[in-house]
Symmetry: C2
Subunit: 237 residues, 2 copies
């Protein structure tokens, strides 16, 4: 009997449930509901996984204590690798996000006007942003996931700075085109000092985006984040 993808996925769920590969305690009923199957099917899976040498079980009273073997771990890593490479291909071809125009706080405009930022924008993006940012509310789950993927995406890094009264955080810029090329000089910005909200997106451009695209509050905007051509400013560790 050969384990199939469902079996490996079950192993993955077991890992998550037991927070590791050792001493997982779970009833077949619980397992069944986490993998969306009946108690009977869960039981069968465990028997088959054990036969295939992907996990070991020892009786602990009425229940079982499960340990996932090296080979079991390997199967999970294998499956993950397959999906990872697919996701990397998606990332490589750019991220697409759909958002709805909402009225901004007006903060953005103030920050963008500071000399400490303006000079860096000029140098690194090749333009000075229009004094005002576009605020988008992301429309679907896919867009929010793309937003999360941006964190591990190459960006153009604008350093923070300080004046006599206070300091200002960094800004990461992700070059983007809007509405299928209707506006091709724009950038999604992520500010260090913004409370984390995965459902919002802030966009800058050398022109007034609203006027340029002819849009008003509530209209939807398509954002395509392209791969930043500049190398990252810092190394990973």
């Amino acid at each position: 009997m050969h384990p199939n993808t469902q079996h490996i996925l079950t192993l993955a769920h077991l890992l998550k449930f037991g927070k590791g590969r050792a001493s997982i305690e779970i009833t077949t009923t619980e397992l069944g509901s986490t993998i969306n199957r009946s108690q009977q099917s869960a039981s069968k899976y465990l028997v088959e996984l054990e036969k295939a040498g992907l996990l070991e079980r020892t009786k602990a009273g009425q229940k079982f204590r499960i340990i996932i073997t090296d080979r079991g771990v390997d199967e999970v890593l294998n499956l993950h690798e397959t999906l990872k490479s697919s996701v990397e291909i998606l990332e490589r071809s750019g991220l697409q996000l759909d958002g709805k125009l909402v009225s901004g706080m007006g903060e953005g405009a103030y920050y963008m006007s500071l000399d400490g930022y303006r000079s860096q924008f000029n140098e690194k993006l090749g333009y000075e942003p229009y004094a005002g940012t576009l605020n988008l509310k992301l429309l679907n789950q896919s867009s929010m996931r793309m937003r999360s993927m941006m964190d591990n995406y190459p960006s153009i890094f604008v350093r923070g700075f300080a004046d006599s009264s206070r300091s200002y955080g960094w800004v990461k810029c992700y070059p983007a085109i809007l509405n299928d090329g209707a506006l091709d000089k724009a950038a999604v910005i992520v500010l260090e000092r913004t409370h984390y909200d995965n459902s919002m997106l802030e966009v800058i451009s050398p022109v007034c985006i609203k006027d340029s695209l002819g849009i008003k509050n509530g209209d939807s905007v398509k954002v395509f984040v392209t791969k930043a051509s500049k190398a990252p400013q810092f190394e990973n560790t």
Copy 2:
């Protein structure tokens, strides 16, 4: 008809095959062999995926041209997320590698003796390495995968430096224990200037590891890489 895991995996393979979500050209025979199914099953999958709205097809002569929809992409990302969180749990509990002692080149000993490195080891690891490194040949696929995972693992970063004649690259250190705690003060090191070989591992320790463990060439050694307590030296971008 509800798509199951095999369907989503098929989408993942399509993404990889077409190097993106757009304009994938693949015959059902090719698809069948990449997903280890018959031509007929591959055909059925495509029909079902189209019905489920996860991809679209347009006739291009005799073949089809496939485009994966937003919903299709989302399903792949979803499945990836599940496995990613499992793999992260594995990482969190430490990486275990099995290797066989092989005779080193003797290079390691020379580098470790350089003052530019020694002072940093002292400061960051809390000890000076013994003048000689342990070279291990990894024994199985699982270990090599763990080796790959180390690249995204927190490390203690030892900067490179230059003297009058040449420059020396950085060294990443991953605290580790050997043979289930028989030696608990050790570190796997990864050198910037080593040609990339995923099947080898280099280990340092304040004592002579060979003597301390009582091992000789060909003996196997178990390495458990623990989570580095120090924060990374640089930020990501």
